[in-house]
Each structure stands twice: as C-alpha cells, then as structure tokens.
Symmetry: C2
Subunit: 325 residues, 2 copies
C-alpha cells in the first residue's frame, strides 16, 4: 500500500507519516516547508519506504507526479494560522480551498487514488450555539476566513466523492496538543515565558473555554476510520464527516496556570478584554464526538496531562522556537 | 445611491439593472460577456445613469475601479452551467469561488460598499432528504461542483460580514423562469423542437419534480430584503440566507407537455433512464420559503403560467438561440 501525505513536515502530517511507516506503507511526503519543520521527519528519513518531495500543492504538475500508484491521500497541507486570515485574506483561499481542489483534481486525473482523508476543523462550524456541537449543525455562520475555507474544502471533497466515485473522510479537529505542536496557546505561552519569565500576556480575558485533543488520539481516530473501518467504502455513502475532540474542556486561564506550574515559574498574568483573543477566535469549543465513539474510538489522554506533556516537550526541544519566527 | 451589478448582461443581472434604474439608482454593470447577452441591456443603455464595463470579476484591478462610490453590490456573475462542472472541474472554482472572493475583497479595500446581495442556489443544499427544504439544513452532501462552489461563496460572504462589518444577503434560488431566460429546460426543449418538431428527447425519465420561480418574483424578493427592509443591517446579525422559490412544483414530463401545447406541436417524447438528467441533477427541488414570507414577500406567478410565458418569450425572441451556441 502506498500513501501520499501532504503537509508531511507539519505537526499532524509528520505523525501520520510515522504511523503509516509503522504500518508498512510506502509513504510519499509532500511539503513546501513554509511552516513545516524538517526535523519532524528525521526518523522517517531513515526508512527506505519514505520518499520526500519538497513542493507545493499549488504546483499541480508536481502533485500529479506524486499521485502515481497511491492508494490513499492524507491531505493535511493547509494554512493553519486562523488569526492571520484577516490581514492576508488570500492565504486561506489559496492554501486551503484552491490547494484542496488541486489535490482532488490530481487524484481524479491519476485514476490511482480514490480515497482521501481531509483535515478539516472545528472552525468550519463557526461560532455555534449548541454544545457539545454535533457534526450536523445547520448553516454555521462563518467567523473566520479559515473556517470558511475549511467548509469550502469539505464541500469540494463531498462533490468529488459524489461525481467521481471517490471515498472521502473529513475530520473536524479541535486544537491539538502533544509532541511537535508548533503553534497554539501552549507554544505561545512557553515562548513568551522563555523571553520574559516575569509576566505572561494573555489575549482575551482568559475565560474562553476550549477542548483539545492529543495527537496520538487524533492519529488513532484517522487510522480507525480511513484504514481499518472505512465506513464510506460503500459508494452509496461515499463521504463522511467526523468531529474529533474530547468530552472535556478547560479555561484558557487554567491552562496558563498549568503551564507556568510545569515550568516552575510565577509570572504576573496580564489579561486582555473580552472572551475572544482575536476576531474569529471562538470563546467556547466543545464538539459532540458520539458519532465516531459509536465506531469504537475514544480519546485516551486528558487535557491536563496533554498540556503538561506539550509543555515538557517544548522545553526539551527548544530548537523549535528558532524554527518558527 | 449607486450599485454595482456583476453579471449585468445575464438573466438575473439584467433584470436587476432595469429595476435599480427604475429606482433612480446609478448603476455600473460589469460583465465579461462569456454567457451574458448584450441585447438584454438595450433599454438600460438608453439611461444616462447606467455605465457598462466589459470586464471580468477575475480581473481584480477592474473590479476595484468599479467599486468606487458604490453603496451595494449585486453579485450575480457566475458559471451557471451545473452539468459542465464534471467536465471542466475548474470553472466553478474560478468563476464562482475565486470570483466571489475577488468581489468581497474589492469591497473591503474600497471601503465604499459594505452591502452585498449574492446569488446562491438551491444546489448548495445538495440532494436534501427533507421537503420543503429549509435554509438551515444540516451539512448538505454536495452533489455538484457548482453546489459546492455556491456553498463556499456563502461561507466567504458570511466570514467577510463577520470580520469586516459588512452586510450580506445570500439567496438560494430554485431554477428561474420568465423573459430573457437563456438556459434551463424550457430553453432546451424549445430549441430542440425548433430543430426537429417531430420528437423531443428528455434527459432522465421525466419524473423529476422541480419548483421554479418567475424572475419578477425573484427581483421583488431581492429588492424587499436588500433595499427596503435590510434585516441584517444591525451588525450583530450581519448575514442572512433566504430560500427563494414557490410552494408548488411540477414534473418534468408535465412541464414538457405544457411547452409543446403552447407551441402547438405534437412531438414524440423520448425519455432517458432514472430520475436524474445528469450527475448532480436533483430529482426533487422544493424549498421552504417561510422565512422570507414572514417578512412580507410572496410569489405572484404560478409555475404553469411562467412556463407558458417563457415559451412565448422565446418564440418571440428567436434571436436568442443564435446568441447561445
């Protein structure tokens, strides 16, 4: 079996590469290294079944070349910086919507791979009013260009699956945690404290409530659905969306306290105003994960343990702060 | 007041131009004339408050130039050929998704217009299971790249309204009818019968059930919401989606019979197989229009009268068949 992983040097992508190699897959990793981190694939590179291509999903010809003989595509390449979308309004359209169109079109033309695993996001649900938020929330009002692009991508995957007999799985992730997580609040807080351990500035008033998911639980869900069960392989039902998260959540201020405790620091906290850290920030994230739980998956890590583990991984891998300017 | 109408030489666009001129608006019409029809604006061109620009929403600079001093944008330019989307998979992405991004971005940069009326489609709801189909249908499975692109556009309008204090109205139209309608089943049937009045070939088995809307009812709905009421002008609720259709529907075979009666012909009917005329064709279209009815709108034309009127308009304006090859 052969897989293409786009965004292979990214946080989720690199973990998928490692898992697929463990499963004895041949793996092609495609990354433009705009935000990917080369060192994440140091282990994978030792495996002769891993091939690395430094290119971009916007380079259609390269993408088509990568598609030969591929059985499944894990499409993780994306702009993941939600906040930046209001400044550079084109990035989500290009990297996410157009990039995903390219991946689907290259799959269609290759006639090789017809199965896609797509990294969507809880952000595609906008700012919902129902908690825990189910997959089938009607008409989410989009609060970010990032969320709008992820919803657009889901629609593209759905339409391609319907029109061209493809098999598609979209996963709406909450924010993740765990080794290699190179952005998000733990990364930001640890980085700020490394620069000045006497204070910690928090965007928003600290009362936002967020659910998270450990990367290992994320990978186990993807593998269960896309490799082991494949509930959509019956063509009558060729497209599935799954929420992925935990059934618990934590306030940003409590999360910050856990991090400073783990670091053994006692900084002064400075809070912003309002629940939202920025335009498009979601003050409450909690997904209904019963759909995938019914298929036999459940998260094994708690949020608190995951935050501590992420903090410790960052301290032990301080080189990562130099990689991400 | 000044409006920009994109797709101004198209079916809906040209009717909007006429209506806005009646309302004493200054109107800029932008059309690339790829499917627009120059003669539709013959009356408008006599009005000195009408300015015409032959360009494309993909030409960003032209679009920005059109935006100066504009109060509202009626964004109707789009690829409307649902069937063609599986052959030329890029057209819906470019003409619809990227085009709509360009319109929104030009509005944002112009700082002039912050109000947009967007032509979405019942196709954005995919192939729903609930009838009449409400606006808040959860997670529609997309059955066409056209539908996926319209859903993507709605998401973009929603995100721009949220992030940049804009006011957006999306209308999900069923198929329209009335003077100037240059595609759809009435056009196709009349065109086929003009070539050979002895037979009429129908895609699908003729049992598909479709709701339609007369262009005059469509325009009255757009004007009520976007000009007269503006229910989203309160910024807490800056984005609204409305279904637009009739509360009745008709079978394709009955519709065909009405058309041949109106033409005084007795062709032999040849039917295809299955309810769907093509991949992505929707065998039942009936939208729940109670949301906009509560605001005071209702359709004044029946489907049967509208089909007859459309047929007669086509006979009296046979030049249109030469315009559309």
């Amino acid at each position: 079996m052969k897989a293409l992983v786009t965004g292979s040097s990214g946080f989720i992508g690199s973990h998928i590469v490692d898992e697929l190699l463990k499963r004895n897959y041949e793996v092609i990793g495609l990354d433009n290294l705009s935000t990917g981190i080369r060192r994440f694939l140091d282990d994978a590179r030792k495996n002769e079944k891993f091939y690395e291509v430094e290119s971009d999903i916007l380079k259609f010809e390269d993408l088509c070349n990568c598609m030969q003989g591929v059985d499944i595509v894990y499409h993780m390449a994306a702009n993941a910086d939600i906040r930046g979308g209001t400044e550079d309004t084109k990035i989500d359209l290009e990297q996410n919507t157009i990039g995903t169109y390219n991946v689907l079109e290259a799959m269609r033309l290759s006639k090789s791979s017809s199965r896609i695993c797509f990294a969507s996001s809880a952000a595609a649900l906008g700012e919902p009013e129902s908690f825990p938020t189910p997959e089938d929330l009607p008409n989410p009002i989009q609060t970010s260009l990032y969320g709008a692009s992820k919803l657009a991508c889901e629609g593209l995957v759905s339409a391609y699956c319907n029109a061209f007999d493809m098999e598609g799985y979209c996963f709406r992730f909450v924010s993740l945690l765990g080794p290699r997580y190179p952005h998000g609040h733990v990364f930001d807080f640890v980085k700020k404290l490394k620069n000045d351990s006497s204070k910690l500035e928090i965007l928003g008033d600290g009362t936002a409530q967020k659910s998270y998911l450990h990367i290992n639980d994320c990978i186990s869900a993807l593998m269960l659905i896309c490799e082991d069960l494949r509930p959509a392989k019956d063509l009558d039902n060729s497209f599935e969306i799954f929420n992925l998260g935990m059934e618990e959540y934590i306030e940003v201020s409590e999360s910050a306290q856990l991090i400073v405790n783990e670091l053994g620091l006692k900084p002064e906290f400075y809070f912003g105003h309002g629940k939202r850290g920025w335009v498009g920030d979601n003050p409450f994230v909690l997904l209904d994960i019963s759909k995938i739980k019914k298929l036999g998956w459940k998260p094994r890590n708690t949020i608190k343990e995951s935050i501590k583990e992420t903090t410790n991984w960052l301290i032990q891998n301080e080189w990562i702060f130099d990689e991400r300017v």
